[in-house]
């Protein structure tokens, strides 16, 4: 428990419902407020109008996403916001892995509505990464459970570090990098961001940021 206190301050509130143990600290409260404000903002905003100019022709105009497509992507954005709330508040390692993979799938969903084939191709590659990184993510959680006998972050913070737990930390961080499309693997992301429909795409950046913040916190808690 001391690690949690050192990292993010005293625990403000906690929901005690069997394995559903989300807890709020001043740090995670700030993240929750950011996610809520951002999700509401994205839900209420309308898709962008992108200027379209074809050279050597008399074509100047705007293009935007269809209403049906925008509705689907808005739904996925809201779902991604809900999954992110779970990521930053959960106090259980396995639930964290599940929430992170839900974030990955909904991120993919935001781009699946696009009709450009090069965007869909890049999204397909990102989907492959998401599928691959369920192995390190859940493998890391399983090694932690087998070694320490607990998944609760409050208990894990007290248990001293151990080489096997370090392996599962490495696996967790590589899994989170894949799901959140973080640093070295964002070539797919750049290709996907060329799609139309700006406000919803920002959810992907927010989820990358939140998953990164949370995985660093968890790495410190487990150590």
């Amino acid at each position: 428990m001391s690690d949690i206190l050192n990292l993010s301050g005293s625990i403000i509130g906690r929901i005690l419902l069997a394995d559903i143990v989300p807890y709020l600290t001043p740090f995670s409260l700030a993240l929750v407020i950011t996610i809520l404000v951002f999700t509401v903002f994205l839900t209420l905003s309308t898709p962008e109008f992108r200027a379209m100019i074809q050279f050597k022709k008399d074509v100047v105009g705007t293009s935007t996403v269809e209403k049906k497509e925008a509705r689907f992507r808005r739904f996925m954005t809201i779902l991604c916001g809900v999954a992110l709330l779970g990521v930053v508040t959960t106090g259980d390692l396995f639930n964290f892995a599940l929430f992170v993979s839900l974030v990955g799938v909904t991120n993919l969903g935001i781009f699946a509505g696009v009709k450009d084939s090069h965007v869909l191709n890049a999204a397909f590659q990102y989907g492959l990464v998401i599928m691959i990184c369920s192995l390190p993510l859940f493998g890391g959680v399983a090694i932690t459970l087998a070694r320490t006998g607990t998944l609760s972050m409050g208990v894990l913070a007290v248990i001293p570090a151990d080489p096997l737990v370090n392996i599962s930390r490495a696996l967790l961080i590589i899994g989170a990098i894949g799901e959140g499309a973080l640093a070295p693997f964002f070539a797919t992301k750049v290709e996907m961001i060329r799609a139309k429909g700006a406000p919803y795409i920002n959810m992907m950046h927010l989820s990358s940021l939140m998953v990164f913040t949370r995985i660093i916190e968890i790495i410190f808690i487990m150590g």
Partner: protein, 168 residues
Amino acid sequence: MIGRIFNSLAKPDKVPKAFAFAIMLVLLVSLVYSYQLNPEQLYTKPAPQVQIEMAQENVDVSYNLAPYNRGGTPLDPEDRGIVKSQYETGNLGWITAYLTPFSQWLRNISYRFGTTILSHPGGILDEILYYTRGLDTILESTILFVAFTIASWVILNRTEKERKDREK
């Protein structure tokens, strides 16, 4: 050389391969360590196939659940059996194995109930392994349903486009 590697990472179709390679490196490092389970979390299992001998002697019908029975009586907080709660609070571990009437009937007639993954709603593996972890089952199926939604959306768009192309 380094420049060529970084340039090849910029192509989306190289990314999953690079990612799988990175995971392979970490897993290779992890092979060095020796793996032991935490002894506090292990519970005594009946020996495999013991239920057949026990049942022939009419000892105890709960042995039909082997290797998954942990002793105790279902729904009785006084007689919990061997279940270790991961959290101090809450009602975890009160129910060792809640069986639906169908599962009870199946346990009474079959020796091999514990060794079978039953596909009826609330199969025994679900009931025993998942009872103590409730949210996980909901989250897992949520991920599955979101994936189905995305896949059906993509297929729907494609068939609509094909239909429009044919009408042209």
